[in-house]
Structures are given as C-alpha cells and as structure tokens.
Amino acid sequence: MSEAPKNGPWTPDRPMVGIKDVHKSFGDLEVLKGISFDVMKGEVICIIGPSGSGKSTLIRCINALNDIQKGSIKVEGIEVNDPDLDKLELRKKVGMVFQQYNLFPHKTALENVMMAPIHVLKQDKADVEQRAYRLIKKVRLEGKETSYPGELSGGQQQRVAIARSLAMNPDVMLFDEVTAALDPETVKEVLVTIQELAEDGMTCILVTHEMGFARELANHIYFTDRGVIVEHGPPASFFAEAKDPRTQEFLSQIL
C-alpha cells in the first residue's frame, strides 16, 4: 500500500475506509479487541466469522450507529470517533442495508427511496422521483413502485432497501447480513443486485455467511472470531490455504 500523507483532504489513493486498532465494549463485554484494516475505493470486502464474533458491531461502528471506545475509523478522511463528528456528513458518504430491511412500512417502495434525499438532502422532488424510478428499475422492481413494504417479499423489500440507500449517492455501502433473513430462493436476487453494484465500482463492505458469494466477488476476506481478525486474504488463498485452526474449523462447518 502506498504511503500517502496522513493529513489533508482525502484522495482516492488513500483508503476510503481506514480502521485502526478499534476497541468496542458493551458494558464489561469487549466485542472488538483491536481490529484494523483498510478498504480502498471500489473494493469489495467480506467479513465472515461465527455469530457473536463482532462482525455486525464492526460495520455498525463504521457509520456511527455504535460508538467505539478506542482506535480510529476514518471514512474518506472523516474521523468517526471524533466527538464533534458531523453525522450527516458521514451518512451522506456511507449507505447501510440491514438484515431485517427496516423499510418504513407506512410509505410505498417509491416513497421509501425518495424520502431521505428530499427530507435530508433537500433535493428537488421531481429530480428525486426520476432517480427513484431509475433505482427501482435497477434493482428489478419495476411495477412495484406503489406497493407497500408489507406487500412485498423479503427479497423484494431488501432490494428496495438497497435502492433507498443508493438514492443518497453514497460512496461506500455497508451490508449487514442482508440475506440472512431471506428464503434461499430470494437470496439470489439480492446477491445479484449487490454483484451489479460491485461491478459498477461501488465500494462495498459485507458481513455475510454467503461463502460462494464471498469467494466470487470479494477482493479481500476477513475472518473474525471473538473480536479479532484471525485471518485474512484474497478469496483464492483464503479458502484454499486457511492456516489458523479456528478458520479451518469454521470453513469446514460452512462449506
């Protein structure tokens, strides 16, 4: 990795997301015990590991849904651990998709996509509407614009959630086990959507249990267990040559 200057505005040759020695506790329970890694622009990063290993907590820390006790998380130069953090600036850059979709149930699919750009970014309604139609089409939900979340399947809701995040034009997308609540047959439609995003050059950080997907799409895989990164590498070597017994055990159970 190139040695970029530490200060000054963020430039694309520096990590888009830089995570250094992050510690996070809930009360006495330390869930992250010194996590460090960098994500460059356009990279797709998969974080895998047993449940309770702190994966979800980690990506929730990246957009400040959880605070951290020690260390540093920088997103395009914005220090997330800064007490004076401008959360809006951060969240304009970081999109997040959740395991349970978390759509706004009282708004239609189209309105879900349109709300934040209109309310938060104060963009022109007509422009946003056009963009929302495009995004709905992009996630292959044409014709579902006026459906309410409760009328859509899990996979469809999750794709609306992705479109809703994209409507804010983020630079990084965080996916927190986004297929974990879905039926096997709808998992694929969501994965295809994420794949297309990645191919468009979106920087993606995924917490996932979809090993096939990680192998195919990730630039880099991190295996976490009990709050630390046990092992990491590009998919080819990660899956073939896992050295740590914990990784080997996990992979043998999953694959």
Partner: protein, 247 residues
C-alpha cells in the same frame, strides 16, 4: 329552524307539561345556540392543544437532556395525579390572579378569559395523558426502524416527524380515542368558572324555567351525539391510516 320546532314543542308542553323551552322560545333558543358554539369551540380547542402538548411532550420525554425528562415526568405526575376539576379552579382562581389586566377603555379585563383558562387547563390535563399514550406508540416503533432513518442521515427531530410519529400514531389511535372522548366530556367542568358552554347554559335555563329533567335529557342527547361524531371521525381516521400489509 326554530319555526319548525316551535309547534311540536309548544303542543308537547301544553298537553304533557314537558317543558323544552329552548325549542319554542326565541330568547332561550338563542342561548342554546350560543352554547352549542361555545362548547364546540371549547372542545375543538382543547382537543387540538392537548394533541400538541402530547406530541411535543412525547418528543421532550425522549430528550437526551436529563433536566428536560425530569420536568416532563413532573408535569405528567402533577396533571395525572390531581383532579381535573381542582386543576381548573387552580388555573382560574390562582394563576388567573397573576395575569395582567388589559385596559378596555375605562374598565379592565383579564388578559386570559375564563374560556381561555378552561382551554389551557383542559389541554394540559388531557395532554399529560396524551404524552403517555404517544410514548407507548413511540416505544412500539422498532429500534431498527429508527436506526434505518438515522443511517439515512435523519436527525432525531426529522426521524420523529417523518418516521416515528406517523407509525406511533397508528399504534396509539385506540387509546388516544379513549382519552379524547374523556376530554370532550370533561369540558363540561368549565361550568365551574362560568364558561357559557352547554352545561352552564342549560343550568341557567332550568333555573329560570324549573325544567331540570327536560334539560338533563337535552344534555345527555347532546353529549351522546358529540361523542358519537368524535368516535366516528377517529375510526375513519384509523381506517384511513391503515397500511396495506402491516400490523
């Protein structure tokens, strides 16, 4: 209108002695109609401001500032744990004493009329319950929905206005309905501070005409009708707010 009613009610009085004087004498009819307006204004204003108190109060109750939360729980304790009748008298006779008087050209009128004090007192009374009702609704909105709004850049206030409150409303409409019905009926207590609403007016009518049972019947029918309209409206609202595929 009165012309239509007069023949029937005058004959009723002549033949049976049932004296619905407000339906056949112009003077009493005018008092009755004025009372309709006053009571409607009192009800609408109290309902409206109690909702405002409830919505703002529920927001303040979730404030990150401890002093604000303490103030809110103090407010709720006071208004929920004391009789609304005593509150009304307190507002009018105690606080009313401290409000400035306005020069009306030779004579002085208090800045806040008895009608005004009735609205203030009733709104804070019912508002305290509305705060609790809204809070229950807000707590029923999943934390994850709040987080979704937050991660889209919504501030606490914006998430409250655009996401939390619309969802909370739907959850708490049935209990809100109950409280508003109670408030509607409690407005008759404004009688005690001489607001010329329906109870006060009909009380004057029966003092003048000694027809208590007849005026009581009018009172009951009047409030049964008003509550029916309110409940009908609330149910319509509830149906209109129903989200397809939700809840």
């Amino acid at each position: 209108m009165l012309d239509l009613l007069t023949p029937f009610f005058r004959r009723l009085y002549d033949e049976t002695g049932w004296n619905f004087v407000i339906f056949y004498e112009q003077y009493e009819w005018d008092r009755f109609v004025a009372a309709i307006w006053v009571s409607l204004e009192l009800i609408v204003a109290s309902l409206f401001f109690s909702l405002v108190v409830g919505i703002v109060g529920a927001w303040l109750q979730g404030s990150p500032i401890r002093a604000v939360r303490l103030f809110m729980s103090g407010y709720i304790q006071f208004f929920r744990n004391t009789p609304p009748y005593v509150q009304l008298l307190f507002f009018f006779f105690v606080l009313g004493n401290f409000t400035p008087k306005v020069d009306m050209g030779g004579y002085y009128e208090p800045m806040i009329t008895s009608f005004g004090w009735a609205v203030i007192s009733l709104s804070f009374f019912a508002g305290a319950f509305n705060v609790e009702i809204f809070r229950a609704g807000i707590e029923a909105v999943p934390e994850s929905t709040r987080e979704a709004a937050e991660s889209l850049g919504y501030s606490r206030l914006m998430a409250y206005v655009y996401v939390i409150l619309p969802l909370a409303f739907r959850v708490c409409l049935p209990s809100l309905n109950n409280n508003l019905v109670n408030l509607l009926k409690t407005t008759t207590q404004a009688y005690a501070i001489a607001v010329p609403e329906m109870l006060y007016t009909l009380n004057q009518v029966w003092s003048d005409n000694v027809n208590v049972p007849e005026m009581m019947i009018v009172l009951f029918v009047y409030y049964v009708g008003l509550v029916a309209v309110l409940v009908w409206g609330m149910h319509r609202w509830e149906r209109k707010m129903k989200i397809p595929g939700y809840g």
